[in-house]
Subunit: 184 residues, 2 copies
Amino acid sequence: MKTVHERADIVPLLAEIFRELGYEGTSLSRITQRTGLGKGSLYHFFPGGKEEMANAVLADIDAWFEQAIYRPLRQDDAHQAIAAMWVNVNDYFRSGRRICLVGAFALDDTRERFSAAIGDYFIRWIGALRSALTRAGCSEAQALAEEGVAGIQGALVLARALGDELIFTRSLETLAKRFEAATR
Amino acid sequence: MKTVHERADIVPLLAEIFRELGYEGTSLSRITQRTGLGKGSLYHFFPGGKEEMANAVLADIDAWFEQAIYRPLRQDDAHQAIAAMWVNVNDYFRSGRRICLVGAFALDDTRERFSAAIGDYFIRWIGALRSALTRAGCSEAQALAEEGVAGIQGALVLARALGDELIFTRSLETLAKRFEAATR
DNA sequence: CAATCATTGTACCGATCGGTACAATGATTG
DNA sequence: CAATCATTGTACCGATCGGTACAATGATTG
């Protein structure tokens, strides 16, 4: 028997595995188990092996954030885009049950492998958020944008460390209020 | 030739290795290289292997935070203790060049192995900080304490991701100002 | 229908993994 | 000085690592 897959369907599965196990903790045998794809298929779609898989995942994540978060922040109504960001981020990270793969990669030496993609992700997020804040009339837009993105990353760490979903959503609400106060 | 070591001298070396490579990324051969200790010594001091080494590191970290951060926050003058916390944290994390091992462990599935120690670390940090904030007259002490600890963790992620030391120190200063505004 | 070619499963590779066994070493103790 | 015992270096273990080779499969194309 032979099941045929498409590369695009595999990337989200890989993302979830890397998220749970980290780059070093993700072995090809685990990938085989959880995706149902043999090594033949895996290396057919990703000739560069594990590193190419991780790069594909990072590109996929970047594309999602670009269309769902960054672009609205840059182009749409500033207040609405910022408000939408909190909602979308809460959904995307499943109220803190899901972590940010980019943030996790940044913490250990897998950062060296993907430093360009990792730096880009945060630079663009902060930049887009600063843009919206500036348009909304915030005077210290850069500092507040950094604080917002850092706050989200920190809330993810706390939520995972405490096994507490509520703390993530609660942290986002606190940040949202602070942003509202700074843009009126 | 034979060099004799003590267990207490090894733990900080192990801490630095785990910090850089993560739990899964830290192999015994890397430990051997960087500590200069052979497997014989390593398993003599830590019969439980890698897991016992990580536990020893976590206990060491906990002890340092207890005496340098938590206890002052609980017992000393609230304003002074909070102000000292920002300084000590900035030093300890080397302005963001060093990461928080506990936070990093929380993000992937090494959390399962050490969940008790990881949860404890953050519970006690937040608790001690809340205690100081309450004594200083802050009305929303719990929320602000969570925001402070999360802010530090997030700032570490950002500093590493951007390879920017300044952002960490700057984030701490922003948090410090917010705390001062809330306690007067 | 025949030929092509993307996709797959399996067998296999050397290197490294975490861990064990144990004799040699040498400081400490009586 | 002799005996003890913590500490060490080395050889070795099976399991798993990431990766390669390649024949078999089967959908797509002409």
